[in-house]
């Protein structure tokens, strides 16, 4: 009895579970909508935004999950068009650019307010831009602003150099003309200010803020040496200086004796504790890690990490010296005889060694003083190319024409923050009780890993056109949990790439909810071109041509096969230019278009290429085999993710089937994987994906720019670099695209990548949520979103959502675009309007 009882109970449970599941499947697959579908009555959108936001400071986080939340609570100069992601007016009601596209003027609207009711002015933007670029903030996104003049130099703690004649050295005197992008010239764009003249003046030379780097920079550069009036002997001095400091405390003592006329011990005993600290820190920087304890023993102080405090105390110490000297001056003036004067003069204190803080401690000044030649002037926040011309005009100055830069302005990194709040609360300013925001919504609640709740901000300039009262962002990543919440109508929309491939089979049947459009992102495998056998172009081509990418993308249920590197169907103008250029190039290189098409999938050619590379493929039974291929030298390395795994398995099967090689797969946890890929420590292939920062092919092609590029392939081509350089100088957009297409053609012929597909938005939303579009970045301007209570007006067949016109949204867009249109029209009428401002 006992045995049967238990087995029966067990089987019983199984039967119940099975029947429940199958019953559930039967019901869930039917119906027009996926799960429960009822429009909420509280005018609240519930949205799953992806991983937990790293911070609510718009200038800190880099990810899309944060961007989605931050876009609701911060406004920038411009906003993304909800459909196309093109820039449209936000806090700036209009903008203009100068002739060569290196300068922008933004005209701010006068009714813009922070959430605390204070007005938003150009000064707030100047603060925001400078804060973002400051080395202290260590914003990972700072590179987005590197196009702004001197921004990179400021962020990198670099220095201007003043030559012996007292003039700043200019970059054009030292850098090859061909490499400089555009010649700076004074223009009369916008109001004439001193700062504008400074920005328009030729670019100054900047060097890394360390004597060692200067020594290195001038090595072999006779021109720089001459201007700085350096002699080789001086460098010997530098060398001796560095050497003596490096050799330890004796060297330091000697140096101080020489330069300041007193021993190190004397210096130390004279200093107060703070100054000791500074010396210790500074010496530590120079001497290097090994001798750290020596400096500590010597000065008897330990290092603190609070650099700012040290700098202040250092200034304080110098102030004391100055004060003492002032008193001495008075006494000298009073003294009767010259002898007395001289005796008193001896008491004069020398200023403390000025250990210079430019994000790090340096002994530049000791060093510069010792040579009495070049002077280092740090690049400061006020030097970068951002100017509040008046309260409502902001000027941006770039190094080079960057036609895509305007598309970056709506990025969260450039959205305005409130200076007083940040200065008052420091890092705590983003707490709900302190935060001051600038967007259509304001923060109400933040429970990490649970929810971020924002509510319509009545102080916002456009509050009248914000439809939703409230948005709840849920930071979730577990796909099944999300789909369950969605099905139960607990959430109304989820972020991109969420339904797993298997679910898509079901979800994509719901035509009124499932959004599957191309994104400004691609997925590809990199080839390691530094290691055999993938250092051989033919091997790379063979591996690429043997993949049926149509089958692959069908397998993934989001079909967008990709053969080039720049994603297709999101940049129609570029697609056009690319078709044209590729056709020309094929003719030029005597390649028949059919031949070129074969790169899409032709196992025959692939096998031939592999044979030509020295690894002949033989027929074996029904399939193929390639016994000589060094399979232990090739693998696919990918970071752990369900979709990466299934793609890798598919690729493996394709190579097995078409080339007869069994490529091993290797998965790694993300942060383990990154350094491996970056350092080209992988064999053969590695998985990669790239999300564009802005809507332009350059954000993709830039990946291979320069020898020290970020492509993780080791591939680099001087001609490719030249093409990109010349594209950047091109002002005509279509010609620029054509030049970029030439570069892409060059790249694809050498096949450093194996493109897989243009990423798909792949997400779902309830049909009653309107104004939420699957734009190429899945970044939503929330003020366009509304909830439709009337089921007859719900979205249907969202595959065409981009073509379908929603009167409510398009009217709102038109209204916002009006200010810019009017402005441009006026400007065309009276070309001098802008200047007069």
């Amino acid at each position: 009895m006992s045995r049967n009882y238990s087995i029966q109970s067990f089987l019983g449970v199984v039967v119940i579970v099975v029947s429940l599941i199958s019953a559930g499947c039967g019901t869930s697959a039917k119906g027009r909508f996926y799960g429960k579908t009822e429009a909420p009555t509280d005018n609240t959108l519930r949205y799953i935004s992806g991983s937990e936001p790293e911070s609510l400071d718009p200038q800190i986080p880099t990810g899309q999950p944060e961007a989605r939340v931050l876009m609701s609570i911060y406004d920038g100069l411009l906003e993304y068009n909800p459909k196309t992601m093109e820039p449209m007016p936000a806090l700036a009601e209009s903008w203009e650019t100068n002739g060569d596209g290196t300068e922008y003027l933004f005209h701010l609207r006068k009714n813009a307010k922070f959430s605390n009711g204070e007005p938003i002015t150009a000064k707030d933007f100047a603060y925001t831009f400078r804060r973002g670029m400051s080395p202290e903030l260590t914003a990972l996104n700072a590179y987005l602003g590197f196009y702004i003049k001197y921004a990179e130099a400021y962020n990198g703690g670099r220095m201007f150099l003043k030559g012996a004649d007292g003039n700043f050295l200019l970059k054009k005197d030292f850098v090859d003309e061909a490499e400089t992008t555009v010649e700076a010239k004074l223009d009369n764009f916008g109001a004439d200010t001193e700062f504008h003249r400074f920005l328009d003046a030729p670019e100054r030379l900047t060097v890394e803020g360390s004597p060692f780097d200067l020594a290195k920079a001038t090595e072999g550069d006779e021109k720089l040496k001459t201007v700085l009036k350096f002699k080789t002997a001086d460098f010997k001095n530098v060398g001796a200086f560095v050497g003596s400091v490096k050799s330890g405390t004796d060297g330091v003592s000697k140096l101080l004796q020489e330069k300041l006329g007193k021993s190190l011990d004397a210096c130390v005993s004279e200093c107060d504790n703070n100054a000791k600290q500074i010396i210790a820190d500074g010496l530590n920087k120079i001497i290097g890690e090994e001798s750290l304890h020596k400096t500590e023993v010597l000065t008897g102080v330990t290092l603190t990490k609070d650099a700012e405090k040290i700098v202040k105390s250092f200034d304080g110490a110098n102030k004391k010296v100055e004060d003492a000297n002032k008193i001495l001056d008075e006494e000298i003036a009073k003294s009767a005889t010259d002898e007395e004067k001289q005796a008193k003069e001896k008491k004069r204190k020398k200023p403390l060694v000025k250990l210079f803080y430019a994000n790090r401690f340096l002994l530049n000044e000791i060093y510069a003083e010792s040579l009495e030649k070049p002077q280092f002037v740090p690049v400061e926040a006020k030097d970068i190319g951002v100017e509040a011309v008046d309260d409502y005009t902001l000027r941006l100055k770039l190094y080079q024409p960057a036609p895509f830069f305007i598309g970056l302005i709506p990025h969260q990194f450039f959205r305005v923050v409130h200076q007083a709040t940040i200065e008052k609360f420091k890092k705590d300013w983003v707490r709900p009780e302190n935060i001051v925001t600038s967007g259509s919504f304001k923060l109400v609640t933040r429970r990490p890993y649970d929810v971020v709740i924002v509510e319509k901000d009545t102080n916002n300039w456009d509050a009248a056109n914000v439809h939703l009262d409230r948005i709840e962002f849920y930071p979730l990543e577990e796909a099944t949990t999300m789909m369950n919440l969605y099905k139960a109508n607990s959430v109304h929309a989820i972020y991109n790439h969420t339904p797993p491939a298997a679910w898509n089979e079901v979800v994509r049947e719901f035509k009124d909810e499932y959004l599957n459009l191309p994104e400004v992102a691609n997925e590809y495998y990199t080839f390691n071109v530094k290691k055999a056998p993938t250092d051989n172009i033919k091997v790379r081509q063979a591996l690429a041509y043997s993949i049926d990418r149509v089958a692959l993308s069908e397998f993934r249920k989001t079909p967008k096969p990709l053969y080039n590197f720049v994603p297709e169907r999101i940049l129609p103008k570029y697609d056009e230019a690319r078709d044209k250029i590729f056709a020309e190039k094929l003719k030029e290189n005597n390649i028949a278009p059919e031949e070129w098409k074969k790169r899409m999938f032709d196992p025959e050619i692939a096998r031939k290429l592999l044979g030509e590379a020295g690894y002949p493929v033989e027929k074996k039974g029904n399939g193929w085999s390639c016994p000589t291929f060094p399979i232990d030298k090739v693998s696919v390395t990918y970071n752990t993710a369900e979709s990466n795994k299934s793609v890798a398995e598919f690729m493996q099967a394709q190579w097995q089937q078409n080339l007869g090689i069994q490529v091993p797969l290797k998965n790694m946890e993300w942060k383990t994987f990154l350094p491996v890929r970056k350092a080209l420590d992988y064999q053969g292939m590695a998985r990669a994906g790239w999300v564009g920062d802005y809507m332009d092919p350059y954000t993709f092609l830039n990946l291979c720019y320069h020898e020290d590029n970020d492509s993780a392939t080791g591939w680099h081509n001087a001609e490719f670099d030249k093409l990109l350089d010349s594209a950047n100088k091109e002002l005509d957009p279509q010609k620029r695209f054509e030049t970029l297409a030439k570069a892409e053609f060059l790249m694809m012929r050498e096949q450093p990548f194996l493109p897989l597909q243009t990423s798909a938005t792949n997400w779902i939303k309830k049909p009653f949520i309107k104004g939420l579009y699957p734009n190429p970045g899945t970044l939503h301007a929330w003020k366009f979103v509304y909830i439709e209570q009337d089921p007859t007006k719900w979205d249907t067949n969202v595959e065409n959502i981009m073509q379908t016109d929603d009167a409510k949204v398009s009217e709102q867009i038109n209204q916002i675009m009006n200010s810019q249109k009017t402005f441009l029209a006026q400007k065309a009428e009276v070309p001098q309007t802008a200047k007069a401002k």
Partner: protein, 305 residues
């Protein structure tokens, strides 16, 4: 006994420091760092970050700074979630994990102990097999399977409970049951095994011979010795539960400590890792101490010298 407890409490500090040191070392060896990402950072930004967090200092200085901060109970700010301090993160998220964990363990104790005792009293009967099979169910059906199935049945078909997220009592029921299922299995089986051994020992026979009634024999003498394996198991189990259980937190979208901890390791968020590890190790040692003390009460023959 008091000296024993004090000595063990005193030991917690150095042991926790050893754990922290080893963990710190492992973080240093582990590849990748908190700021690495898909995009390569310009050198300037990277060196700013390294200077800001003292990563450019030699390792012994970094270690000394870390230890001196930890000794003051200050783990600093999370590197990933820069506006939140580690202490605050632990304080905010511990209640979620603790609520779910403690409730689940209490449920598991109630179900597991009764099933185990019942089974041991009627060994090899239908009762025995039935309750053990049920207990085994929790173990052979992993909670990442049980959780979604419960959601499917109770939330999506019957609409009885919300499918996920924190909220009212309705939100707690499914995760607690899911989490308890595993522990039921452990407790029931360990109780059964322990009871079977004890019930045949000499002192139980003596107790019966003395003519004590069966209830007293079982509950006062039998159970006390029989649950020693359960008690041994409870120490680490309860500490682990307080620190969160990743799977249940993920399935039910509960903002507990477990998921945050795993993420912190994957993010190489050093201060957060160290903070949670320190908390976890202290909990483990405290619970194990309580376990060791309770051995003495449960079984008078266990003595600590």
């Amino acid at each position: 006994m008091l000296i024993f407890i004090l000595r063990r409490l005193f030991l917690i500090v150095p042991t926790a420091l050893i754990v922290i040191t080893l963990t710190w070392g492992l973080i240093r060896i582990a590849p990748g760092n908190f700021y690495s990402g898909e995009k390569k950072l310009p050198a300037a930004i990277e060196s700013n970050i390294r200077a800001k967090y003292g990563l450019d200092k030699p390792w012994y200085t970094q270690y000394r700074l870390m230890i001196s901060n930890v000794a003051r109970g200050d783990f600093g700010d999370s590197l990933k979630y820069q506006d939140r301090s580690v202490n605050q993160i632990i304080r905010d998220h511990l209640p979620y994990s603790a609520t779910i964990g403690v409730l689940a363990y209490l449920l598991a104790l109630a179900v597991g102990l009764s099933a185990g005792i019942m089974a041991s009293l009627r060994q090899n009967s239908g009762w025995d097999y039935g309750s053990m099979s049920l207990a085994m169910f929790g173990l052979s059906v992993p909670n990442f399977v049980l959780g979604p199935i419960m959601v499917l049945v109770f939330s999506l078909w019957l609409y009885l409970f919300p499918p996920a997220r924190w909220g009212g009592i309705g939100n707690i029921i499914l995760p607690v049951i899911t989490l308890a299922a595993i522990y039921v299995a452990y407790i029931a089986r360990l109780t059964r095994a322990g009871m079977l051994e004890v019930l045949r020992s000499d002192y139980i026979r003596t107790a019966r011979a003395k003519g004590l009634d069966e209830k007293t024999v079982l509950l006062k003498h039998g159970l006390r010795g029989g649950i020693i394996p359960v008690v041994s198991y409870t120490g680490p189990a309860l500490a682990g539960l307080l620190a969160g259980t990743v799977v249940v937190e993920k399935v039910f979208a509960i903002p507990g400590l477990g998921n945050i901890f795993i993420q912190s390791v994957l993010n190489r968020d050093e201060p957060l890792i160290l903070g949670v590890v320190a908390f976890l190790s202290i909990m483990i040692m405290l619970f194990n101490l309580i376990v060791d003390i309770s051995y003495g009460f449960l079984d008078p023959r266990i003595r600590y010298e």
